[in-house]
Amino acid sequence: MIRLLCLLLLLPGLAAAEEVVLGLSRDEVSISTTFDGDEILIFGAIKREEPAPAGNPLEVVVTVAGPSVPVTVRRKARVAGIWVNTDAVEVDLAPSFYAVATTGPFDEVLSAVEDLRHRVSIPRAIRSVGAPAFIPDSESFTDALIRIRTEAGLYRRDEGAVDLSEETLFQASVRLPANLVEGQYATRIFLTRGGRVVDVYVTQIAVNKVGLERWLFDLSKSHALIYGLLSLVIAVAAGWGASAAFQALRR
């Protein structure tokens, strides 16, 4: 019986025995003028047609990824006594924000093969096709990218941050930092047993600028000249206003 179950789990394409039913505290984040980071609660339940299989315990992995853009990572080296940018590696796609939360230690929750297939861990979420041949240590550039963004709170790996009770209900809260970029944030929930992915659920969280932020951003893109003139008008008005105000104060 156990052997049969294992076989069932190993075979992809078969209807998943365990499925995610998901809820989000909200599926939209508004960036207003006073935006100072936000927290999204991701919660859900696991639906089963039959009793939970014995053996390996059920684990949950939650990932939230911001929009991916190509980035250039530069390295400084000493040339003629001063530190200058010498080598550069283009990383084809790197998410602006990436958070992974799991129920337990990452390596136990997800096998390396599954990580490679689904691009779950932070290094896998970054796509780097190749560096110029004259840079032998291109990995150190992606390592640096991860290190810098982790320090900035943009990349996060929270082991044990997903609460799972009775192998049925789970919840995780993902903190979005204040320096958030607009876009669609892909949210994935993986159910795993013994390191293998049993079910995947994918949804989107929309992060949008609203109000004044939206208006200024659109104006700066669509009517750049008007935007530029507007900023000058404000500058001139402020400069003149301050001068007039101080003049009035002296009297």
Binding site: D36, W83, N85, Y227, Q247
Partner: protein, 305 residues
């Protein structure tokens, strides 16, 4: 209080920016420098992306320079004629400077060139000014008998197209001011600053203008140069962040008013020493950044095609 900046796409403390704008405004009103050479590194330090910092600070400079100039106009310490001549040279120079900048960018390493420019010019200008003002103070201590040598007539005074600059008390050819304006224009386009810290010493030492007039006149021409660059950045790069600019310039315009009042109470030599020390401090900091091994060797930039 945190405020989200729409173009920089990040959240910053509003009071921090008001304070930064205020400090730079005070210096701007006191010395007649736009303050760009101080504000840009400070904004980098806060974490504003370099492109947005460079694009936005011009707008703040327009506001604080105008605020400062109006205070100077009331005290009749602005030489509009000289300012116009310098500006004409400056605009020609900056158009040429933008052209040089484009060529350099295609060759790469433009950041390094900008930093080296800063270190070299801040170092030279600061040192020369410090030495000169210390000498002036020593002369003043020796008593009224040891007056500085009168301005001599040299080749500068034999050039054609002589014009009377009444406020500055000068009767010289327009060619030297135009050349000075052009040189400053080229440098400011490459270095991304208004050029006040080069313009002010150039006006004092190359053109022989009185220090009191120099500050207002420098501010007067900086307004136009900064306005021009703001428009360029807004249309070409879309890197002007209006919310960032407003926060900086509220602090800036108030600071500039205070600065002009402080400046009018100081003696000319003291003013020049203070400016020299500040210029040297910024130059020294930039030189150290180039010489000391940085704690993080790697940097990330969004790839732009």
């Amino acid at each position: 209080m945190q405020i989200y900046l729409p173009i920089a796409e990040m959240s910053v403390n509003a009071f921090l920016l008001l304070g930064l704008g205020g400090i730079v405004g005070v210096l701007s009103g006191m010395f007649g420098v736009g303050g760009g050479f101080l504000l840009t590194p400070l904004l980098f330090f806060v974490g504003i992306p370099p492109a947005v910092a460079v694009g936005t600070q011009g707008n703040q400079i327009v506001a604080s320079s105008l605020s400062g100039v109006l205070a100077h106009v009331k005290r009749r310490t602005v030489d509009f004629r000289m300012g116009a001549v310098l500006l004409a040279g400056g605009l020609m120079g900056s158009a040429f400077g933008v052209y040089i900048f484009t060529i350099l960018r295609s060759l790469g390493q433009v950041d390094l060139l900008v930093e080296l420019c800063y270190v070299v010019f801040l170092g030279i200008v600061g040192t020369l000014m410090l030495i000169e003002s210390l000498r002036a103070i020593r002369r003043a201590r020796l008593g009224p008998g040891a007056l500085p040598p009168r301005k001599r007539h040299n080749w500068v005074h034999n050039l054609p197209l002589k014009v009377k600059f009444r406020v500055s008390g000068l009767y010289i050819s327009v060619i030297p001011p135009i050349l000075v304006g052009m040189l400053v224009g080229i440098l400011s386009a490459i270095m991304g600053v208004g050029g006040g810290f080069i313009m002010v010493p150039a006006m004092i030492y190359l053109l022989g203008m009185p220090t009191k007039v120099v500050v207002g006149t420098s501010l007067f021409q900086i307004i136009f140069v900064a306005a021009f660059t703001t428009l360029l950045h807004a249309t070409a790069n879309q890197t002007v962040d209006l919310i960032l600019a407003v926060l900086l310039l509220i602090g800036g315009v108030i600071g500039a008013q205070i600065g002009t009042r402080i400046g009018s109470r100081l003696r000319a030599e003291q003013l020049r020493i203070a400016l020299a020390v500040m210029v040297l401090a910024v130059g020294g900091k930039l030189a150290l950044d180039l010489l000391i091994e940085p704690s993080e060797l790697y940097s990330i930039a969004e790839a732009r095609e």
